[in-house]
Amino acid sequence: MHPFLHHPRWLLPYLGAWLLLSMFPAAILGPMDVGHRLQAVAITVLPTLGFAVATLPSWYLCRVLPLDRSGALRLATVHGIGALCGGLLWLGLAEVAARGAGLVPGWADAASRLAGHRPELVATGAVFWCLVAAFHYLLAAIEAVHEAEARAAVLAVRAREAALAGLKAQVHPHFLFNSLNTISALVTRDPAGARQACIQLADFLRQSLRTPDARPIPLADELALARSYLGVEAVRLGSRLVVREVIEPGCESVPILPLVLQPLVENAVRHGVARIPEGGTLGLEAWRADGFLWLRVTNPVDPGSPGAGGGGMGLRTLRDRLGAMYTQGAILDARRDGDTFRVVVRVPLEDGGEAT
């Protein structure tokens, strides 16, 4: 469809531009005293505007023959023929206008004004054709840019959906079987503890397996998932795992992308506390400042161990998800500082996370 059909408002400036252009053929027609000048304008304005409208369908020709993908010869041939037809069309319209002007009282000589100027007028029409074509190619380029932007937006949404598809909390098999082994160990010597461990494991699994939802959830829900995970690990690791929570009151209701906290907490246990024979303290903090919700998870790292001390892959995925979900301001910073590994996540309080 021609862009003007989408945007009829553009037609007015388009015709305005042609009104100005109609002064060029008027200038060709002599002689040029004031009366004749008016006459020449009268003869050229209507044909020019008519031409401008009549050649609008050449849009489709330009679409079929894109500049970048059509051979130069083919372009030259088609637009050469187009220019010739355009020139003749323009002359034809001018002839009609001249005849019409000749009917106006006192303008009897208008009908003969074109005599001797026909070749220039055909050439002008040909130039007009080229202007229309150039204009259409420009429109096509603008449209292509808009399409590319729309496509990029669609792709971004898809990428986001993909990021969310893998959103179910990963229940690591090693964690699951170790937990079952712990329960198996508790069954005879601590039946109540075994039952408690079953319930905690079930709690965690239930929350992990629920249908993933793209929508932000209250931080309280994220905390609950992280706590149920830590509850299971606490039975397994015993006194080796100490959790220190500092949650600023009021933070619980802040909406946040699901599964931000739990993976961080799991990393802190798997790559941190569980790798140290004597264990250590896992820090979990949340506070609000400067229009952002801040989360910090810290864990000790075994002094002898090389590397960053955190699960690189999981952090990368999380960073991508934060980037896809929040339009701006979301950051994830992970660093090892001596024998402590800390991850800080900052998400905007306002941006509900629904980037559109």
Binding site: N178, R236, P277
Partner: protein, 254 residues
Amino acid sequence: MTDPGGTLSILIVDDEEPARLLLRELLESVPGVRIAGEAANGLEALGLAARERPDVVLLDVQMPRMDGFETLDLLDPRIAVVFVTAFDEHALRAFEVNAVDYLLKPFPAARLAEAISRARARAGRLRDVDGGALSAAARPAGTYATRIVVRDGPRVDVLPAAEVEYARGQADYVELVAGGRSCLKQQTLQSLEASLDPGQFVRIHRSYLVNLAFLKRIEPWGSDSRQAVLADGTELPVSRAGLARLNEIFDGKG
């Protein structure tokens, strides 16, 4: 150590207390066994094994600081080992390839008793599996050992692989040289070579594995031989095949 048919002494090694308690409890119902001790990590296990001289070690795979495979390498080869793991597909593949007995957590008492009786049948024979081979088989493709665990008398050292300048093979032992110090480890040079990054460690000779980071130059030696000179001036022989391997690596790196 006891004679086969007598009481079998068993060492339990797992970093999780509930897992140790479970093994202890299940072993109580297995006839003819005695628990020699419990260790929460590889280091403790080595100390206890040296003192208590158990017949069998029930060894967890994933443990902090020194994993089950690394511990296995430093354990007396007369001790039978049964691995215990929760879930680790790589470790499982390694066990299958090397025909090592293992228990999957959680396991029934009968499965433990079966493993114990197999260990009893093996008692007194030398172990024929080494931890290096197991770790190599258990490692995801394209990843290599970043540390080497060595025992120096009662002391256990963890050497970062990158710091090892070269290794010399001597029958069943390798001599590892790092920072001017050398230590011996019971492992074949082949097994060590298999566990390390082939882009960093090159077998320049039947008996020598060199860390390219410490290699300074290759120079002619005698009429048609070559020798490698390390950063600290150490000279090592280079065999014809070793030179070919070096050329291959340097050509590959452009």
